[in-house]
Symmetry: D2
């Protein structure tokens, strides 16, 4: 290979700046061609020291900047729809951070726009699909040695939630990872959701329903349960056990370096998703760069982004009503029927 | 100590014969004084080679046999109520296999009879309370270092179910262990139950809803979920993770001797509850013998037996209706308010 | 069964009193008939509350007390030889705590005395042979699935050493457990020993060579290495990995209840051998009681006790000389050639 | 960053071709400028599809090719010395696969040549220093929480050895990884070595002394033992336990996805070092590219390469003589006294 892929990065916050660094020094085959952020000082800081990069306040200006051949969207969720449509209009491949579009109506408009174009341009940032252990889990489920999956038991814990985190965000921001992972691992759509609310932990901010216990049913008759606990205090833990007809497979068990000191023998628990999934982020962006340079699109699709939004919305309604809530998906455009899911 | 406690064993089937052996050679301080079984040939076989034992067809005859000071009930569940009331009438301490009484009405009659007597005579055979790991788990929850328990995630898997096992028996025979364990670990009563039914495993007998996923709510605001899977094919697994405000504690993870052979490193999974809980059974009977010889009663009470029946009945109704089903308990007699639960 | 086996316990110190309690209440089929200790107050205290027991200052008086049918020797090591010979003279079966006899000359005299009698009377208290995990390890090695054992990697760590513990005692008191375990697991004799001395830990008492690293060669061409570290500070750990031609098997890995708290996930490490091997001690004494009541002798033999002494002596010489030191065993009497080792 | 670092790769065999791919697509900041191999067809194949690359039969021609700013040596060991000296003569930074130079005399000439130049140019390919777990282990040892390291217990197992693998190669090819890892982890030099030879496994080729057990002593009084077993048949396992004054730290325990199937629960054991250390290789080359572009040199030095050769030579002598063999190192040039080791 030779020519580096010129990428416009939209959004220069925590995540955006991290992706700028990754494109510049963490993955091969790409270069940062433009950075956009309404806060141009922040955009300039992220772009500092990179040759040939331009800085913009407006997303569309960045898309039109010289040398831009692809877009990485890391701006806040509400800005995603407009950015995606603008990229599609220009025929630019996109890697879009999750949630693709926060509301499922908007997400569906993105799906329809891409489908009209007849060519896959968008990859959604569900990086768990690139985690080494999740990939092994997927492989084991797909090779059939354990028989049909019956249940997924998922655990998703964070040390603490950021300010302003709401009870609904446990579903549509946190559990959205499990929504995509379950759909991907099982190759099934989620059809109903129930949310149970144990008495909140004393470690949760006043008024936040934390933890929650979320149950999904699938169109294949499987059951997916998720403990979401965003103020657990003790570490960042993401686990998934697939219980199948002939065996079980577990990813995310605590492991790694074992330390024995007075009275205990154990492993360190990562405190942060950036630590736990550092390699997955790298692999995700690298896979996107490689595919894009070859004119292909792989990974999570806009349909996957839409489905995640639709399920999460049903989840929030289930949380509010306390009732089992069906999920209604729009018909799936033909563009997405032959994807790798 | 000196004099051995004379025990009448009611029932000489698989479990009864095992308890006869345990009393004779497995625990100290006791001797088998009488064995009763309608099939007296079976009773004789179990009693073979034991000095001073008498064999009976009728339970009451065994209770009245010379030297009988206590009773171990291992007959089929429907015979338990009559045997318990007969033991109470004679003032004999009882260790009664689970379920104490299969229906909660009968269980409540036993509770009331014991309460009328004003003295604890019955211990119910929830042997999981005597398992070394469950006891450590209980100790960790009680010492408060992890804060208040929020959720229990339980897994209960058997290799295969015996002939005649029904969908309701997954609840009232298998999950009854988790019902008691949850009440004991949390020190809370269960107030409602919901049963989810994923598509049955191909390994389950035709018509059996296996696995099931059972959700209990407690009067302390905790949530208890149980995967019950009695034809999992791969082993006998009983796990429990207590998720608390400041940490989590997990019992029953696969461990023990690690074997590494071509391509895999792992532990042996026990195939049978008699293997996994062998020590718990021994400890249970020994604890009962020791307490009885000192004129005391410890361990799971008749109230615990009643509560397990009542919750299991609600569970079966939840299985049949597909609805969340409240649990209604009778008022708790004063005799049981100061127990160790 | 009926009649209880009357046992004389010699020595009423920490270990002896524990065995008195075990015979009285921990195992079935036995009763304490006599207790002997030069400190008769201590003997009386251990025997308190036991019916029909007599207390003695002299070991031989206890052997001759009414109802004594067997002997458990838990007196200090230097008293063992005389007690064993006295028991042999009376035809009494013996369970003798390790070391059988501290010096290999005395141990050989015991072997020769028992061999002259033509009947196995002595079982040596190597309780690791009764540990559940070691038994699984032995079974796996014996069933041949892993092929021939090539190496044993052993770790033996104590929190701290008692006052007066010498560098030689790391070999002849601590490593003696591995000496017996290796001989038993491999079914081979140890033929040479080398002791390496890393710079002592700052946690070891002044002048104590702790840790040490001990290498044994066997007559089957296997290698056994032992880390012995008696002031490790962090817990009581006994591990053994058998590396074989087709796989490896590891016993004693830290396991049990898993606790996750801020930053760490792990297991509790036992701090004491009485905790770690509690079940093994119970099983050991029970096995001896059962065999004795049936007129049989099983378990570690006097020859095993002698071999352990002889190898430990060579080990101490290796420690002092810094050289590889061959082990010379006397010819094995025919009495011991058909044992279960 | 902008300009890509032009790298000449010497050697286009298995390892060299893998590095060409890594530089071209696996790491950022570098490009392959030249490939050299006496078998030019092989070199052409490795270079296929890369823009601006030239192909050469002679290493020196590649060093002089246009755009070459740095060298990666992946040719056979005997060719390394000449290639290193040629790179030094041109002032080119080098990443040299291990062994740096097979014999310690030649390795010392390389050290002296680099020291004369007064500037660090060489990094040796000890990729274990870049493995995530080893790095955590190093960090834990360095931060002092476990106190002074007393012993390292190492295990190094391969499924099978390639044709032509000799008994000496277990030391100078395989154990050389542990030689460097021990020196790096402890920050100490190895001063003596003893090699023990258990009876070879039936799985080893006729005449190969496999496994071996190697003991190193250090100038800090620590002990390093290594089980090297290159025909273990069951997997690729690299483990290291550091036993310290206040605790122990273990890297390389089998972990990852846990699979439970009939009778066993366990993890997959990788069968190959390229699988186990894939990330380490990527991190290694990336670190070298990044440092080189900034005009710095980090990582294992030529001195580390020399020390590994010298220790391995002593190890082979110890293997042949059966005796403890001291290691004699030349005086360390000042250039290497302030390195990160």
């Amino acid at each position: 290979m030779s020519e580096l892929l010129g990428v416009a990065v939209l959004g220069a916050g925590h995540m955006g700046a991290d992706h700028v660094r990754r494109l510049d020094r963490g993955v091969s085959g790409a270069r940062v061609a433009a950075v956009a952020d309404p806060d141009t000082a922040r955009a300039k800081e992220a772009a500092a020291g990179i040759d040939g990069v331009t800085v913009h306040a407006e997303a569309e200006a960045a898309l039109d900047a010289p040398g831009v051949e692809a877009v990485l969207i890391a701006s806040p969720g509400p800005a995603h729809e407009e950015a995606l449509l603008a990229a599609f209009a220009r025929g630019l491949p996109v890697l879009c951070e999750k949630p693709m579009v926060p509301d499922s109506e908007g997400a569906l408009r993105v799906v329809e726009a891409e489908a009209r174009g007849g060519r896959r341009l968008a990859q959604v940032g569900f990086m768990r699909r690139y985690d080494a252990e999740y990939r092994r889990l997927k492989r084991v489920l797909d090779d059939g040695r354990l028989g049909r999956p019956l249940m997924l038991h998922c655990v998703h814990r964070n040390v603490s939630s950021p300010p302003g985190f709401t009870s609904a965000m446990l579903i549509d921001s946190s559990v959205s990872h499990e929504i995509d992972a379950a759909r991907w691992l099982l190759g099934q759509e989620l059809t109903a959701v129930t949310v149970l609310r144990p008495r909140p932990s004393g470690g949760a901010p006043q008024g936040l329903l934390d933890p929650q216990f979320v149950l999904f049913e699938t169109d294949g008759g499987a059951l997916v349960d998720v403990e979401i606990f965003v103020n657990c205090g003790f570490g960042y833990q993401v686990r998934c056990e697939a219980v199948c007809e002939h065996g079980s497979a577990r990813a995310g068990e605590d492991h790694g370096l074992l330390l024995t000191t007075a009275g205990t023998a154990g492993a360190e628990v990562p405190q942060d998703y950036l630590v736990r999934f550092a390699d997955a982020y790298d692999r995700e962006v690298q896979a996107w760069v490689d595919a894009t340079r070859q004119g292909r699109a792989t990974g999570p699709t806009a349909w996957d982004g839409y489905a995640a939004s639709a399920v999460a919305e049903a989840g929030v309604r289930a949380l509010e009503s306390g009732l089992r809530t069906p999920v209604d998906l729009a018909p799936r455009p033909a563009l997405y029927t032959d994807t790798g899911r």
